[in-house]
Symmetry: D2
Subunit: 339 residues, 4 copies
Amino acid sequence: MLIIMRQQATDEEIRAVIEEVQRLGHSAHNIPGSTRTAIGVTGNNGPIDRNLIESLPGVVQTMRVTKPYKLVSRETKPEDTTVDVGGVQIGGKDVVVIAGPCSVESREQIVTAAQQVKEAGGRMLRGGAFKPRTSPYAFQGLGEQALRWLVEARAETGLPFVTEVLDQESAVLAEQYADMLQIGARNMQNYVLLSQVARSHKPILLKRGPAATLEELLNAAEYLLAGGNYRVVLCERGIRSFSDFSRNTMDLNVIPAVKELSHLPILTDPSHGTGKRGMVLPLALASIAAGCDGVMVEMHPHPEHAMSDGYQSLYPQQLKRLIESVDRVAQAVSRALSR
Amino acid sequence: MLIIMRQQATDEEIRAVIEEVQRLGHSAHNIPGSTRTAIGVTGNNGPIDRNLIESLPGVVQTMRVTKPYKLVSRETKPEDTTVDVGGVQIGGKDVVVIAGPCSVESREQIVTAAQQVKEAGGRMLRGGAFKPRTSPYAFQGLGEQALRWLVEARAETGLPFVTEVLDQESAVLAEQYADMLQIGARNMQNYVLLSQVARSHKPILLKRGPAATLEELLNAAEYLLAGGNYRVVLCERGIRSFSDFSRNTMDLNVIPAVKELSHLPILTDPSHGTGKRGMVLPLALASIAAGCDGVMVEMHPHPEHAMSDGYQSLYPQQLKRLIESVDRVAQAVSRALSR
Amino acid sequence: MLIIMRQQATDEEIRAVIEEVQRLGHSAHNIPGSTRTAIGVTGNNGPIDRNLIESLPGVVQTMRVTKPYKLVSRETKPEDTTVDVGGVQIGGKDVVVIAGPCSVESREQIVTAAQQVKEAGGRMLRGGAFKPRTSPYAFQGLGEQALRWLVEARAETGLPFVTEVLDQESAVLAEQYADMLQIGARNMQNYVLLSQVARSHKPILLKRGPAATLEELLNAAEYLLAGGNYRVVLCERGIRSFSDFSRNTMDLNVIPAVKELSHLPILTDPSHGTGKRGMVLPLALASIAAGCDGVMVEMHPHPEHAMSDGYQSLYPQQLKRLIESVDRVAQAVSRALSR
Amino acid sequence: MLIIMRQQATDEEIRAVIEEVQRLGHSAHNIPGSTRTAIGVTGNNGPIDRNLIESLPGVVQTMRVTKPYKLVSRETKPEDTTVDVGGVQIGGKDVVVIAGPCSVESREQIVTAAQQVKEAGGRMLRGGAFKPRTSPYAFQGLGEQALRWLVEARAETGLPFVTEVLDQESAVLAEQYADMLQIGARNMQNYVLLSQVARSHKPILLKRGPAATLEELLNAAEYLLAGGNYRVVLCERGIRSFSDFSRNTMDLNVIPAVKELSHLPILTDPSHGTGKRGMVLPLALASIAAGCDGVMVEMHPHPEHAMSDGYQSLYPQQLKRLIESVDRVAQAVSRALSR
């Protein structure tokens, strides 16, 4: 349920409504808008008495949210959400490029990569410290050491960074170091992990699972918002299909679909979405043209020596060209590269 | 097999090689390039004696084509193919917008549509005369009458038109009226039909089947070239996936994949690829950004009264905006709208 | 629309209703049942006056058929359909095994294969004379010669045979020789071909396309019944999915789904559905256990020398074991092997 | 790497080899066979010196395992694995039926269900205490209270039970109460959870993810074996496809594929695999016919009142009929119902 407040509702009135909702055993979510505030009510504690709520001072009306997801729905919040990540805005007019290696491999590798990302025009760094690997015998990441090197890379360049977390333990660690926590595609429906990072004070990058429907993606995001973390960015990274010439099939139809149903920003990851270095540029540009809020790509100072995903990592020079092209395409759709 | 001729090979030398190949029971395909000519040899008549061929005047060498498809392969012809359709070039530097209604419904409807397409900046008209319909009880198209009205629409506007053919009979009719024949997605592996239109003198628009792999698509095109029709344009129109928020899932990864493996042009059809009017614009722009050579979209003077596919047809005003945006995105990737 | 006749309706009454329907510009389909006759009305000529029809002698009532497909629907005909193919019943209590090579390669090959099928307990022979091949350079079948050899194989063994047709020409030829015509998976939505074989006097085996939904399959069958051929058997042969350990993914869920929605028999083809010889037996048994009316499998006297699909063809000895096992599983689900 | 011991190798020799492998920084897995013992060597610590190992007393030879998964591979252990769950054998000659409600809802519900499962001939009980739900607002299970009631149901009937775990916390709890822990489809690639339950002393039921390839499934199982838990049973529960008439598409091709590549037992879950009560019986029988080692189905004393998945839950009477039919089909493929 959504409680719509008067335009001139005072802070006390808003607070009083929230307290009343909580007193009734539900969760209340303050959703400020440009003209007025709404309060989202969630919980599985049975229905709430609408007459009671509508009689409170400052309340205009209550509305049922028709979708299974509530807080992520555009019904609940018609305006686009912008998420601030260490000073970088995701979801506003400008589009963002996040780049960096699949895995952090050494201090030198990640600092060099960060400098190359910055020089190419990227606004954020990516780098894996904890790696979910298909095989138990594959390289699983360098853990906290990698996080420390990422912090050094940030210190050298000023680029905030995002890193994947796999469980409570890695989330607690990453919370101390990182600017944004990533939930990987294989954990999109790991509801325990979603509930844990919902309590984080850092923004979340939530990747769509390779077989997730749009409703499942938005419900996964709902776990985060319902748990109190409203700073969520979605990310399309390719779905499983019969197509055999690329590792995954990028589903760009999801971009306008998300924009219609939700107020959350959405990025794409054309590196995983294609699995081939030569396809990253065209699909990055396609994503921007389709209306997404930025792209995250893999770049490695020396892709041929990368410990993971080298075949889909860009060379530094290619990243530079990609970002210039992203800027041009962004302008063609009345946006711009975030600088 | 591919026979590479000397740069200065004379027409007689080329003709002599072709005759020798045919004398040996194979088909020979003349493939002129910017610097020299190649001759493609196809057929399932067993291997050919390479020494014999290489001893002919003007021959530099012979090469085995490693792909199962031969004439469509970039190995065979490294340069992009440009297909001329009634004066419109598909596959060159400029990108083309083809638009029009799903079905031709009346003289007035198609002439009005053509005028609107022209005014919006479209270069070609589409309109169905023969409709493959899932249900035997659905509207199956107006046949030859529709073709005559399309000719009138062309006369009024100068726009060449493409129309789908379903069998020998409709292909023979369309050959007399249309500028380009379309093989629909459901007929992509109708090899009898492919062999028939291979003998047509009109260029062919070949749509990818909803479950076709890239190799199947290129092999379907190979049927056309092997049959003697080299003016083939491919078209991505969405694949079947589990995704449930759009009628089909557009697979834009296929664009760079086709460009790598083949010299043929490729368009997309975001109307069928999304099945929703509101998604056509973003996916059209995404297609152009990904490197395709144009888009084909459904537009109807009055979508709400369309006899088929109204929900995915653009309003005339939307087409205009789409074409303007296509132009801007095309320029962002160093191309331009064909005018 | 469905017109339900009185139980004691006379032939004249039935004939009079049919004539009235035709006089009104619609098609009428006589659907005899065990207790009473129904008359299906199809066509896209606008609605029909129900009051007029219900006033005719012998008519109990008219019913709207809610599905897009009408004549194939179980609403229209609640009783299972049994299709007679040269004396073999498909769709009754007994389950049928159809076997034979992918392609007819020689007189000796097909006669030997037929003898082996018969000896193993198979009731019908399969063999391709016209082959739809992904590549234009692959073996395309021996055409009418193959049909003549199939007739010889039938003469030697008494086994009726089914063979695929690709177009009007092959359908006309096969009509003269074969006991059942097959529409292959790639032609399931070739509506021109469906309309042609609808006029055939031979029963039709209609294979599900690799990306066809159930509704599309039933609508394809509707083309056959609406065109006047009521002897239709469906066949599941695997769908396209991301699964990479078998050529296709057999969708056995379709069997109970078809049985619920339609009265038509359904077989499966585990040879194409798996693409691996070692998987044919388990999936054939699974199909029978799931309730299908039989299986069609590829067997070759010498799979290692087959001109097509050798890797998925059974050895004669394997066919024998398969048929024995099919019999046991059929009995476990209260059916039996057709003998 | 696999170390093959002599047939008469003594326990000391085996122990000495294991210690040497560990001393070299690798993990050693004792794999007893009917005629001789093998020792699997895993770890990502670089290659091991084969000459050194082959010189140890009792060692016949070392072998490289060619698959990315090692311990689950049939190369490593040619004989079928049988997993004992509270006295019930899974993976031997007999097939097992596991049944029970989606969620434990009350003491009475689960005890009644257990009695009904027992009476119908089931050997194990299923029941959810911790539920992974798409929506944060859906019923999430009763937790430890549910486990206690499951223990009561076991005490009343003697049926061991399996229950899903979601994280460290639920796994620790379930370890104390349950006979088998289930990893749900959405957690199949939750490698942290896999590593945690690998240390459990309870057998694991590992469900295939809805978009998991066979290699991903076997690698997920490899996490369990590499972590020291060798009692693993796989479970097919339907994949995501375009098919729209069932909630998921059961992929029975995976059964012979697993049997070829791995020694682990495999069950199917036709309740989730179809999502429709009326399809559970035919697909359960199909699974048995295809060679799986049993089925797990949802049954509820009153499906119409179930708090989750009621539409796919069997009525007690239907379960009885299912188990009788499973027995008949099992016998038809030379197996039998476990009693």
